[in-house]
């Protein structure tokens, strides 16, 4: 399918404060650049390709690297390699490519190497519907890689938020030294919205801290299990070892149960002990809500409209929308759903968020958790949700 190529821009700095018409994919690319991404490797796939196209134009202008690899496995491996050499590195893909990347995502996690994977979701399984929206990768983004390690996954619902969360994804990857996934809906990737980009100066850009200890003292992994530990890059005098084998704090492989347990605990604890920093959740008209809708990404946009329509008719309905879907906002969801009678879980899949909600809400009957699903490549409409609201009310 021929694509319109975006107009050539030569100026690096564009007036970020002005209102611009922008695609979600473009916003992600902009966010990446503004967060300091200086290495991108990728392989074309609808509906994520514009991110690669834009960065292939923009990164060389900044003296940064763009490379089109032979496949998605190569792409993620290249960004991990570049990150170990000190780059802020990103790749972007969609379902089929995201599946191919899973083994290496686990490698980034066990080696605590910062990197960002953008997955602009399309309908699956397999080739599915390449240009249709789906929220089918909620669980893949959490459990896709073999082994057992936590995940950080962000999920915007607008073009503006795509920009913001792209920056946040890069920041969190640097801070927590892990692979952060940014999920995007096909519709959002391709949708143009008028956005006023936030003032860049308000965005903190987080960079890795360089070690100051002499090389003999350097340990590549933080024994104290803090997250923002100094980390060296290849070629800077710290000749450390990186392996996907279980390793001790120095980075050398180990099979000693105590050292393996330490490593696994560190991978988990850096996420679980920083939930407050990681979790972002929007609550919309939840104060007096008797019916709550749980939805993320593009489905939350429909849900928001449905809430307004319902409120106009005097129905007490609210919306919970996670911006961070993993780690799942357990406590926040539990708290906010405490006083509602019914929870509607709206999603473009066969019930992935539903399992999480059902896991958290033990005091309600099954009939109080109502799914709204759609897997035919179309969006859930506000009217569809409103209908359900009225049914359960």
């Amino acid at each position: 399918m021929p694509k319109k190529t975006t107009k050539k821009t030569t100026k690096k700095t564009e007036e970020l404060d002005s209102i611009v018409l922008m695609q979600g994919n473009e916003a992600v690319a902009r966010g990446a650049v503004d967060a300091g991404v200086n290495f991108f490797a990728g392989y074309p796939i609808t509906p994520s390709t514009e991110i690669a196209e834009i960065l292939s134009r923009e990164l060389p202008l900044r003296g940064a690297a763009f490379i089109q690899m032979e496949d998605e496995i190569a792409s993620i491996c290249a960004i991990i390699g570049a990150s170990l050499a000190g780059a802020k590195a990103m790749t972007a893909t969609s379902g089929p490519g995201f599946s191919l990347m899973q083994e290496a995502i686990g490698y980034a996690k066990i080696t605590e190497t910062p990197c960002v994977v953008v997955n602009v979701m399309r309908a699956g399984p397999s080739t599915g519907l390449p240009t249709s929206p789906s929220q089918g990768d909620i669980m893949q983004s959490r459990w896709g890689s073999h082994g057992d390690a936590p995940a950080i996954v962000l999920y915007p619902d607008s073009v503006k938020e795509s920009y913001e969360l792209a920056i946040r994804a890069v920041n969190l990857s640097e801070k927590y030294r892990t692979c952060v996934v940014l999920l995007l809906d096909e519709v959002l990737g391709h949708m143009r919205e008028a956005v006023r980009l936030p003032d860049l100066r308000k965005h903190r850009v987080i960079n890795r801290i360089k070690p100051t200890v002499p090389p003999e003292w350097y340990k590549h992994y933080d024994e104290n299990q803090k997250y923002l530990s100094p980390v060296a890059s290849f070629g800077e005098g710290y000749r450390f070892h990186v392996t996907g084998l279980a390793h001790d704090a120095t980075g050398f492989p180990t099979g000693r149960p105590a050292e393996v347990a330490d490593m696994m605990a560190r991978l988990k604890k850096k996420i679980t002990s920083n939930i407050r920093d990681l979790v972002q959740i929007e609550s919309f008209h939840m104060e007096d809500a008797k019916i709550a809708i749980f939805a993320a990404g593009i489905t939350a946009r429909s849900a928001k409209s449905a809430v307004m329509m319902a409120r106009a008719e005097g129905l007490k309905v609210g919306l919970l929308r996670p911006l961070t879907i993993w780690p799942f906002p357990d406590d926040a969801v539990r708290k906010m759903l405490k006083n509602v009678e019914t929870v509607i879980v709206a999603e473009l899949n066969q019930g992935q968020f539903l399992r999480e909600i059902a896991r958290l809400i033990k005091d309600k009957d099954d009939s109080d958790i109502v799914p709204v699903r759609r897997v035919d490549g179309e969006l859930i409409t506000p009217a569809q949700i409103l209908r359900i609201i009225k049914e359960v009310n």
Binding site: A41, E70, G81, Y107, F234, L245
Partner: protein
């Protein structure tokens, strides 16, 4: 342990890493590592400026033992990891150590595309004709008819010629030696490191414990002798009658051309964009 080369090699090993190493007695991997270290030493490359990247396999365990920037990755993917390292820090000498399976089976696609790009990597393929680490399944270089644990009746697959593959895909320096010819291996690795572009050095090696045993090749010393007797230098190829060269492994530098290297091409692109902008 009085002679100089051994001392040199020793000085590059990581002494904080708990030896003994993982390799079987008689394995060629140590010989290849020795050749590689001596090549780096002779060129006087700073240790901080060497990155050694490997995949998964017995041969891919090399990096952990040496005092460079070392990266032990996942099966078949050493080359794309190395591509990322090199492209972000072009001043690093990036060496990839990989096995025949790692490089030409699971990693075959990455291998040919890296050759095509002519990125300045030095790839040392340790070809022991078998999957050693997983216990002896056939690889793309296991000779047809040979026994492996997944070809108990004899391998019916044709083989890859790793050097031909590299040449065909566009690598600009391609050489082959054997673990028996350790000085020659060292020389080729050295030349590969000096070469600006994609260098592929295939080192045919012995896995006496698995491949040798399955195929009744004798122990390590016998396999060494076979490497000596069954190979000829490429220079002798034209001088000898065909009956003397038939079925022999050809050693030597099989291709060496100068061509624009990838990071230089990229830098040129960046520079030209800068000029355009300042106009």
């Amino acid at each position: 342990m009085k002679n100089q080369p051994q001392k040199t090699v020793h000085s590059y090993l990581r002494h904080n890493k708990k030896f003994p190493h993982v390799w079987c007695a008689g394995c060629s991997n140590g010989i290849v590592l020795g050749a590689l270290i001596r090549a780096v030493d002779e060129l006087g490359l700073g240790r901080d400026d060497v990155a050694m990247v490997s995949g998964i396999g017995c041969s891919s365990r090399m990096p952990v033992y040496v005092d460079f920037n070392t990266l032990h990755t996942i099966h078949g993917r050493a080359i794309p990891f190395a591509t990322g390292v090199k492209l972000h820090k072009p001043h690093l000498n990036v060496i990839v150590v990989t096995g025949d399976g790692d490089c030409t089976a699971i990693g075959g696609n990455h291998f040919i595309h890296a050759c095509r790009r002519n990125l300045d990597l030095t790839i040392v393929v340790v070809n022991n004709n078998i999957y050693g680490m997983t216990g002896g399944q056939f690889s793309p270089t296991t000779p047809t008819g040979d026994i492996a644990t997944t070809s108990p009746h004899g391998n019916i697959d044709p083989v890859f010629d790793i050097c031909d593959l590299a040449i065909g895909a566009g690598a600009t320096f391609v050489a082959r030696s054997t673990a028996f010819h350790s000085l020659e291996s060292e020389e080729f690795i050295k030349r590969g490191l000096e070469h600006k572009g994609m260098s592929v050095i295939e080192i045919v090696s012995a896995c006496p414990v698995i491949y040798g045993r399955l195929n009744k090749k004798g122990g390590a010393p016998e396999m060494m002798k076979q490497m000596r007797d069954n190979s000829i230098p490429v220079k002798a190829l034209d001088k000898l009658p065909p009956e003397k060269t038939k079925g022999k492994l050809v050693r030597g530098i099989l291709k060496h051309v100068e061509k624009d290297e990838y990071t230089l091409r990229y830098q040129r692109l960046v520079d030209s964009l800068k000029q355009e902008e300042s106009k």
